[in-house]
Subunit: 401 residues, 2 copies
Amino acid sequence: MSEPASRASELDAADELGKLRERFVLDEVVYLDGNSLGALPANVPGRVEDVVRRQWGELRIRSWGESGWWTAPERIGDRIAPLVGAAEGQIVVGDSTSVNVFKALVAAVRMAEAGGSGSGSARDEILVDATTFPTDGYIAESAARMTGRTLRPVTPAEVPGALSDRTAAVLLNHVDYRTGRLHDLPSLTAAVHAAGAVAVWDLCHSAGALPVGLDEHGVDLAVGCTYKYLNGGPGSPAYLYVRRELQDRFDSPLPGWNSHADPFGMRASFEPAAGALRGRVGTPDILSMLALEAALEVWEGVSIEAVRTKSLALTDFFLECVGAYVGEGRVESLTPVAHDERGSQVALRCDDAGEVMKRLIERGVVGDFRHPDVLRFGFTPLYVGFADAERAARVLGELLS
Amino acid sequence: MSEPASRASELDAADELGKLRERFVLDEVVYLDGNSLGALPANVPGRVEDVVRRQWGELRIRSWGESGWWTAPERIGDRIAPLVGAAEGQIVVGDSTSVNVFKALVAAVRMAEAGGSGSGSARDEILVDATTFPTDGYIAESAARMTGRTLRPVTPAEVPGALSDRTAAVLLNHVDYRTGRLHDLPSLTAAVHAAGAVAVWDLCHSAGALPVGLDEHGVDLAVGCTYKYLNGGPGSPAYLYVRRELQDRFDSPLPGWNSHADPFGMRASFEPAAGALRGRVGTPDILSMLALEAALEVWEGVSIEAVRTKSLALTDFFLECVGAYVGEGRVESLTPVAHDERGSQVALRCDDAGEVMKRLIERGVVGDFRHPDVLRFGFTPLYVGFADAERAARVLGELLS
């Protein structure tokens, strides 16, 4: 047994989260793409079958009340809340991440407008992370256009210098989807607030992988998907966090009937519901939503701090194994070495990365390729072990030798 | 056997669509709430199980390609197309009806702007059906606010008189959710066009119940849900129709990465995809979407014209039975008698309607109650028979006697 392989055995044997792997449906594949689509939790198929056959098939329309369909968006939001450091009543689930970015950013601009300090200066600018997953940038452009603001793309590092009394809102990513870089949410949020602007965070690549601390750090608004580290299933609904103190000022650009104070009153004029519910829009997609609810049960008894500890150990170990197995200069890590700058993935720049990833997958190591030259390996601590990390690096080394 | 009961037997015996009921999971209940949540098609549970266990659980991320997840929105759109009289390539599935109303109405206003005849008059008004299901009105208000237009609620009958060179877009319902009244889509669309405005139709209560003829009647944009007469399941994704000739001018307020010409290029600037695809937004909710795809298979070999013929026969017969069984003056039909003004539901005004519906449901007749005094009975010709209609009227008569 090679030195890294025997280290992996020791690390797996000592891993307190190791037994959580049983809560998922997995096979002999090394699955390092949970940062794109989380693996299937073992309890989901049975739940979905019940939702389809009994709740829909037998109870039919009665399930809106009896099976708790109507209240699912806020109930499941409360289930996500502790994972991102939020007290209950601040998160609703529903719609895609893109749609939630639109809601959050337009509402943020309106808050900045309404909360004007009376200085008379127009807050006419939105800052957006220039390194963002593209959809956030496209949607931010639309939000800027529709609120008459100017969109200014800056890197997260440039944000403090770019903030001014012209800034209405700032949209940032907690973890960069490409490099895996973790941005400093507490200090960036504080800087946004010091400028009198509203902070919107995209948690797609951090929620479920590391502590976020939304309440603690005073984040105003946040969005995230649920199909990566939260394992909700393909295209499972996203969520929207609205800080309690701001909920009365949350003025949604998508005021659907589900966000009405009296949704079944069928009133002609809109009156927003109290609390996070005003982030809802239309009828929730129950099948996807209740699959997500079941998926979140795998977190029972699991602390996000323990997950973070294991995540860092896994990515450290993987980088170590890459150093041991992969020839000098064949790959270059784009992921920061410093723990407080790293999410839960490792991104390796590599010549011919698309072809290399194809061959890795053929050899049973599943990561993904990001244009033009990046191999991405996501480490979901709930089901990835140290032997997986060692094998992935070993196969990569063989392919590149 | 009473006279209506023996008539029902004859009508059921002669019903060519009667055997379609076997394609659904039903029991002894008379289910007249398919205009709210369609019954479960028998092939859906098995399909969903395959999607969850094999496509997600085994193939995982590969299913975006191998299981056709990525192309599901347009593939399923093409499946809906013949039911609403559309050629392929004009419908995408995804998001809620509310979100699609927003996309369609904002895009309509922008089309009206771009297509200006050079007369110099500003098209500063949006007309909306004042009798609409409320969410359309709330979203229209937001669309007007965000495009700097004025929203003017009018009844469909008032639309021709309200149209002018100030009208940018008109949002109308094909069938009124409360009364079941069918509006004249061809003539209203023609009137909207004669005024140089853009017509947006909400098909929630007509698609799957009667021929719509989107292409034939020159409708510009349309939206609809899929969980009523299309039986897609609770909160299944809605759809958006963009007439082929207008697709190049469809300028979405929600330009998510799924509507990009090169979604995996991860480009910083947005370039819209060609065709109906630019109506997509974020990652599609696959579980709900593929359940819908299976549900649409029940339409194989079924003509929407035959469905319409049976629908009218069912509602005629139900009204006849109500006349026979329910005491004079106890209920009043809000649903037009004329066939060309009737959708596929019957709405009866009734004192104490909430309590009456509760007791009907206890007696195995499921319709629904709409505030303040309406009993709604939806007739889905695919699985409702004449004996169901007779029994519903009979039980109602007993309860009100």
